[in-house]
Subunit: 226 residues, 2 copies
DNA sequence: GTTCAATAATAGTTTTACTATCACTAATAA
DNA sequence: TTATTAGTGATAGTAAAACTATTATTGAAC
């Protein structure tokens, strides 16, 4: 039996479903590669079209503009990550172990899981680290939010927040702490690779140190007092 | 006596010093207003020139491109904030009180301090919240970093990190915790105004709740054990 | 009064972002 | 079978953004 993971995407994110055709899958595959290589700013539909061997207008039939494509990719990533977390914490009773698992999944380098041949999860993870926040840091966040573009991100935060509340029901900031560790897992990863003097991680096992920091942060915050 | 706060800026950030001429000061003043109003993506040198009553080429004499201008503004902001922190924690002995002061300064809405008539600090603070991370989230971070573009940010993190180490010299992640609270003070502010379901702050005193969260995070992390 | 440097005004070019049109192909439905 | 239509390809175009080059003007320094 071969399972095919399908993440259901908000239809308002695209004009034509990219997962429903070869060209569409090529757009996803090569946009991940191109954004990873050149960064989102210098990424254009023209370059993407050349890479794929189609035309600019061809891309525009799938995505309204490159920002919508970025939002699509981030939404896909959060959906994928939520699945990983739910799958890997399933049947674990201890919320402490669950939280550690979550932190590990958030901070550890992702390997391409081959589940979806047209998306390279490892590259996508790198894209989220460097470009993910640009999906919501816009003047039109509120409208985008009304259209539910960020639902996968919010769902993921809710899942993590629930584990936090499970571990310590009296903790006052479960959702904020959830978004803090999600964002910091990514941002500190960016810092340690690009602006290392901002972090305390320098050894060969940077990643493990980052996981250590996040664990320290979370479990000290959730310690029951009195 | 009237003090004029002058923040010394990295000369590689501009082509001609904007603080040394009327046109330059106008560029700073109106770019803050325009980016605040329309967001960095739709901000252009042409619109800025029209606003000021000069020409596009006039702006290009001061700044190479709009990204450099953003980096300039963020560098200015971090320099200004570092000064505020050093000034306001001066003569305080208790590192705990210093830390609380720092968190308050980071998370509390900024008022235009009139020290520099050509920069509206309140608007600039809002710009940093929504656009600040775009200054370093690029493919050319490392080169920019070599040119010391992010020195004011790193200096600020160092100042905060030192207070953290002062409070608990055995804490293993002072720099990481410093950048965490700086980034989270801004990002959670963005979330609570634009994606409120990601946070636990909903009341009329959102800002105080955010300060409460950051205090909780920091002082639980720094609690001495054993 | 001439020289030099900063600035202003004008007019470009190139690239990005996006749209419109027409032609071809393959599947599908009447 | 024919007509429809969904997807793709190719071409061409526009508007704005991003940036550059040229010449004219001012104003201060020698």
């Amino acid at each position: 039996m071969k399972l095919q993971l399908q993440i259901e995407m908000n239809e308002a994110l695209y004009l034509r479903n990219p997962e429903a055709s070869e060209l569409g899958k090529n757009i996803l595959k090569h946009s991940v590669q191109l954004i990873y290589k050149a960064g989102f700013e210098s990424f254009t539909f023209k370059k993407l079209a050349e890479e794929i061997g189609t035309t600019e207008a061809g891309i525009y039939r799938y995505f309204e503009n490159k920002h919508k494509l970025l939002v699509y990719l981030t939404a896909w990533y959060w959906g994928w990550l939520e699945f990983q977390i739910i799958f890997q914490t399933n049947n674990i009773n201890s919320p402490a172990i669950k939280l550690k698992k979550v932190i590990h999944l958030l901070a550890h380098a992702v390997e391409d899981d081959e589940q979806t041949h047209y998306i390279n999860e490892r590259l996508l993870h790198e894209i989220i680290i460097a470009e993910g926040s640009k999906a919501y840091l816009t003047k039109h966040v509120s409208e985008d939010n009304k259209q539910q573009f960020f639902k996968p991100y919010k769902d993921l935060c809710a899942v993590v927040g629930n584990i936090i509340s499970e571990y310590n029901p009296r903790y006052k900031y479960p959702k904020t702490l959830a978004s803090t560790i999600i964002e910091m897992a990514h941002l500190q990863n960016f810092f340690m690779h690009n602006l290392p003097s901002l972090t305390d991680f320098s050894g060969a096992k940077k990643e493990e140190e980052l996981i250590g920091y996040l664990n320290d942060l979370v479990f000290n915050s959730l310690k029951k007092k009195g």
